[in-house]
Symmetry: C2
Subunit: 563 residues, 2 copies
């Protein structure tokens, strides 16, 4: 049979999830998967500081916001050639927290920290804060031991200590955090999270330093969306696994489309702020049509133009005898369309103050362009915009099923063209949303190794007294032994945004760059993919044998372009 | 990079799909995957007939409908111990057709037929009819050669020759089929399909025999739904792969549910007529709640009772601190609920003749029980029932998103209980439909081997002069070498149904048996799964290493129970 019990041995705290969990054969085999380390982490190393850093934007404001941290150098780990030895008498107390949405590999970051402490700082203690940053504020934690961690090695999910979306923001909350780290006598805290969480990590580091507290803070780049990256942080963990899971499914519906010859599969993919996932999946699978939000925004396209773009290709394909296809749509598409944003802003205003009469007199309050757009929308979407509002009365953009909206608009446009004698094919749209199933898959070998190195490096950075850095592992297209390891000043990734009249520090989300190698590669191929069927089916993620150690395409292309 | 071009060499006909296709690394590696054969097929064998057969029901009527075939014995292949040698001068002309929806492994059935002919009947020709049974009627075919077939070995989909849902039914259509097999001088035809297609195959076999035509017909059991099976046909191909793909996704959302602690994932699974897929996925993953259509029907449950069953468990879990979970729902659930069928019948009647007034006076025409049910349904579903009708004006049951309907009804019931002080948790439903992504995945090692053996056996049965049999490979839980091979009389699987006053032969769909080992196993575990979290994450299908050769649970349990 394919399952076996995993004992949770002498774990000191109760695991929220996997106490005496039953594992599949693949899960069990992953427990024993050996994790390679970059060679610099396998021998003795020293930390070498780089030049003083600046900021991604508005350095003067960042300097004011982070007076204790601004300008600090990034750090590189450099092998000394000596035999590694633990630093005598340097046992540490470290806390770790998972922040925000899940990404495959989070458990391996924790394993990496733990193993570093076990191997290089004997006698250390690692606490896991439960349920995200709220666990820090409420001092809810569990001591992580060998037995506790074991069942989570190379496993998906964040359920070892769970995550949460709270932020440590108010003075009161900072005070709670201070109390917790003091009570636990923490030398360090590792924050595993996305752009917001790493900004928060840097604010904590600044705060602890300002108060001359000993607790240091190191961040780790996590998000399946792939929008937390920079020159020093080539990718966020989880992106590789999630994209491969989605690409497996996309490849399957491509084969389905070609086999039946009668469906257009409209696939919406997770990733609201940036379209990296959609671009990566396109590079992996070669769909007929791919919408990239950043391009739609840059070209200031209207919804009608997006619809026409899709419809034009469907018509061309019908002429060639193909009445099927696959279309990738980023979850955040409509957030990138200026006129939709304008319409929603006007609707929010109207809905807040006016009655929506059945005769539609209220529509006169819309600006002309917005009224046209509203009338252009399928009726189901119109109703959704008017009826489904959040507790503040605002339109719930996130609830709009963009893929169904596009199917409906394309249907209408095709019927128009049919009546004009410009289209004689047949069209059946089939909608899909691939999202939640990608956030918690078993991490690929790449994500498993990458996360382990990130965690191990975070341990080393804390051990050497660093704070306010994000764990940075580079040269990721080379074999693991050749990966570089270091820490990047979080302030160097920051810019400011003005909110409520005040400057707030932010790590800007990395958007798809239209001048970047991945987009250029995609743009050079898409016309061929549109008309010819160049589908690729990546198949299920493999842990052994061919394909088991592939790195994602965008990373290969980005790093290749930089070289 | 992870892709490579696959040459299509000297293929004689154009492939609808994969001419010069670009393949992923995993796809390419699957091309070279060696296919083991049952040992009886590797040596010389003879065909041994069993006793005369009967029918699954109404043998007298079946005998009348199949005067030339009824009662014929099933056949077993038995090793002779001699060295295999091709039968001199026995080159065959064989046609093959894919019928109905896709199932992973169809290409390997064709590869198996082809390889049998190559190895045991040199000089044979294999034609592939294009686009399903319509290809037979219109005589659209392609000659299948070594080069043509190569790129499809162990690949998912049906795109080698594509499939279709047409049936050969009318006298005119039978005549077209006769003309095609005569024109191509076919010795045999292999029909790869589900229950309907195999019934059709038997009618063709009877017809050809009745007209003293030489063309013999052999069926192969295909459907991801798993509802074509009998004692001699332990499973249909594709079921294993599809269930493993769905179970991978279910395992992932389970980990997601446990990690966030705030979602109830309602997962609808493909399989309208029977709930085998849902049951298999439940056995693989241990969800908190699983609905099995056959049980709902047997207990004559109402929609309210189904809703209460779910809600009760959600409330119990909330008391234990679990505000999350995973719920599996078979696609055909509402077809199993008698009162829903009654409501839909009444609605079809009313919608055909009456005006649906906004005030709801029309509702008085519903019987009391149906009116209660209608009022119980969420508004969105009410609207869907009234508005979305098929070209005949009938309610489109298949379009109802059962998982969203249940979320809405559970929400309402939970709010009621909250107001009564009986529930204090928080509930967020997240809907999923896993369907199309499972029909065309790369076949598992099991399906790859099973299909190859089915095809190879079909070749052997035709070669030995058999007709009206379904290729049957048994002992499937043993290693491939020990699998048994034979053919089962299609008439033995049949019963009759009265349609328009006439008896029609049908292979009855195999439903989930509530007395069968898989359901009993599930039923013995579900109360524990409901309250405790026994989630298993099967992970992605592996082609190498641990888990690569697992057989599905229902098959193991059914065969184990028989032994």
């Amino acid at each position: 049979m394919a399952s076996s019990a995993v004992a949770n041995g002498g774990a000191k705290g109760p695991s929220p999830g996997r106490v005496a969990a039953v594992y599949s054969e693949v899960q069990t085999s992953r427990l024993k998967h050996p994790l390679p380390l970059p060679s610099v982490l396998r021998g003795a190393f020293k930390i070498v500081d780089g030049p003083p850093s600046s900021a991604a934007g508005n350095p003067d404001e960042i300097a004011k916001l982070f007076p204790n941290l601004y300008g600090q150098p990034s750090a590189s780990l450099v092998p000394t050639g000596a035999v590694p030895s633990e630093i005598a008498g340097s046992a540490l107390k470290i806390g770790v927290v998972l922040s925000g949405g899940q990404a495959p590999g989070g458990h391996n970051v924790i394993s990496g920290i733990f193993d570093y402490l076990q191997e290089m700082a004997k006698g250390s203690v690692l606490y896991g804060f439960k349920g995200g940053p709220a666990g820090i504020m409420r001092c809810k934690y569990v001591e992580l031991t060998t037995d506790f961690i074991y069942p989570y090695r190379n496993q998906g999910g964040f359920d070892m200590i769970c995550s949460g979306r709270d932020k440590i923001e108010t003075p009161e909350q900072f005070k709670q955090a201070e109390e917790t780290v003091s009570k636990l006598d923490l030398d360090g805290l590792v924050v595993i999270g996305g752009d917001d969480s790493n900004t928060n990590a840097c604010l904590l580091a600044e705060n602890f330093r300002a108060k001359s507290m000993k607790t240091r803070v190191i961040g780790c780049p996590k998000t399946i969306d792939g929008d937390l990256k920079s020159k020093e942080v080539p990718t966020s963990f989880g992106f590789d696994t999630a994209c491969k899971i989605y690409s497996e499914m996309i490849g399957n519906v491509m084969t389905d489309a070609r086999s039946t010859g009668k469906y257009y599969h409209f696939v919406r993919l997770m990733g609201r702020a940036a379209s990296h996932i959609t671009l990566e999946c396109a590079l992996q699978t070669h769909p007929n049509i791919t919408l990239i939000g950043e391009e739609v925004a840059a070209k200031k396209q209207t919804l009608k133009e997006v619809t026409d773009y899709i419809t034009d290709i469907i018509c061309k394909r019908a002429e060639l005898g193909y009445n099927y296809g696959v279309i990738l749509i980023p979850e955040g598409l409509i957030d990138f369309i200026p006129e939709v944003q304008q319409l929603i802003a006007e609707l929010n205003e109207i809905l807040a103050h006016d009655v929506v009469d059945e005769e539609g007199v209220w529509k006169k309050k819309l600006r002309e362009q917005s009224r046209f757009l509203f009338e252009f929308l399928p009726q189901a979407i119109q109703e959704q915009l008017l009826l489904e509002r959040d507790p503040h009365g605002n339109v719930q953009v996130a609830k709009i099923e963009t893929e169904k909206m596009l199917i409906s608009m394309v249907e209408t446009e095709l019927e128009k063209r049919r009546s004009e004698g410009k289209y004689a094919g047949h069209f059946r749209g089939q909608s899909h949303f691939f999202g939640y199933e990608g956030r918690c898959g078993l991490p690929t070998n790449f994500d498993a190794s990458y996360c382990y190195a990130l965690g191990y490096a975070a341990g080393a950075l804390l051990h050497s007294g660093k704070t306010g850095l994000i764990s940075s592992v580079g040269n990721l297209c080379a074999p693991v032994e050749e990966w570089t390891v270091g820490g990047t000043a979080l302030t160097a990734l920051m810019d400011v945004e003005r909110r409520h009249g005040k400057f707030k520090p932010v790590i800007k989300k990395a958007m798809v760059e239209l001048e970047g190698a991945p987009f250029i590669k995609f743009a050079s191929m898409r016309d061929e993919w549109a008309i010819k069927n160049r589908y690729i089916s990546p198949g299920p993620i493999q842990f052994h044998g061919p394909g088991a150690n592939d790195v994602n395409h965008t990373l290969l292309l980005e790093l290749g372009a930089q070289a």
